[in-house]
């Protein structure tokens, strides 16, 4: 099994993700540089980490989306490869058109950095297959643009296709004002998933919560069952 983590200029969670996949879960992981084209077909999962690619200039993810390696990520995703976008990685996936919607600035206009509770709404993805639907996970968020938006018709599609995978527990717990308390979604084909909370920062008990590891465990179990 082999994972890839993409480093963009301004990524700052790439090492954290690498630590979790390679040290905590013992999966061979390559760190790939944004500026180089790469055949990704040898990887079982490609992860776009959090951070501030290109300083969030213009819009979060807008410039990173045109990085050379993103052409390969798009091709990999279209071929059914598993792609996980965390925080800025989620924003890049939306800008790339691999996930629907866009992020507005948080309702509070502030950068919010704290633990949040999210509910797993759907286990029909490789990333949530081993988690009970309705289970509540606690992990940190750290962003200023996490206020998920999609038009009404788009939201109806998301709901109808069960593409909403994580929601903040309720309105009070919602840190950014996102539509329908959305914290994470997948594409219609269910192989691309983006979420604002950081599972890699909550994958070991010493960090205050190991709930994030359930996402990686699901992924590994799904891959070893040969589902993807």
């Amino acid at each position: 099994m082999k994972f890839a983590v993409i480093t963009f200029p301004g990524s700052n969670c790439d090492r954290d993700v690498y630590h979790v996949t390679s040290n905590v879960f013992q999966v061979a992981t390559d760190m790939l540089w944004y500026g180089e084209r790469k055949d990704l077909s040898c990887y079982d999962t490609v992860i776009l980490p959090g951070g501030f690619s290109y300083g969030d200039y213009l819009r979060s993810g807008a410039i990173a989306r045109f990085s050379p390696v993103m052409e390969d990520v798009i091709e990999y995703a279209r071929a059914g490869g598993l792609v996980l976008g965390i925080c800025n990685g989620f924003q890049i996936l939306m800008e790339a058109g691999l996930l629907p919607g866009a992020m507005k600035v948080n309702d509070s206009l502030k950068f919010v950095c704290r633990q949040v509770k999210i509910r797993v709404e759907n286990k029909e993805t490789a990333f949530t297959g081993s988690i009970k639907p309705g289970e509540v996970l606690e992990m940190p968020i750290a962003h200023r643009e996490g206020n998920y938006y999609l038009d009404r018709a788009g939201l109806e599609q998301l709901e109808a296709n069960n593409q909403i995978i994580f929601r903040y527990l309720n309105q009070e717990e919602n840190p950014n004002g996102s539509l329908a308390n959305i914290a994470g979604i997948c594409n219609r084909e269910r192989n691309v998933l983006g979420l604002m909370p950081h599972p890699e920062r909550a994958a070991e008990e010493i960090l205050g919560s190991a709930d994030g590891s359930k996402i990686f465990t699901s992924l590994l179990e799904s891959l070893s069952r040969g589902e993807s």
Binding site: L58, R59, A62, A102, K104, V105, D107, L109, D151
Partner: protein, 85 residues
């Protein structure tokens, strides 16, 4: 021929603009009670060089707005194109 392009980008009207609301509240606090419909957006100025026809410039600007400068999911854009002497 060279052209000056002024692009204005703002959130779509149907979308709540938290920055606009905060600035409106601040203006109200300063005593400007008659301010409404305030939206905070982006202004981008650029030159497009070596194109002869205004319609070609428009075509390129439109494409640049769609692909990168604006996010059509949440933003509307508008632009002016002027010929540079």
């Amino acid at each position: 021929m060279n052209w000056l392009v002024k692009v204005k980008i703002k959130l779509k009207e149907s979308i709540l603009d938290p920055q606009g609301q905060a600035v409106t509240t601040a203006l109200e606090a300063l005593g400007y009670k008659n301010v409404a419909d305030l939206q905070v957006g982006k202004y981008i100025e650029l030159t497009v060089n070596d194109l002869e026809k205004a319609e070609k410039v428009k075509e390129q600007v439109e494409e640049m707005c769609q692909r990168l400068l604006a996010n059509p999911v949440i933003e509307d854009y508008d632009y002016e194109i002027e010929e540079l002497a």
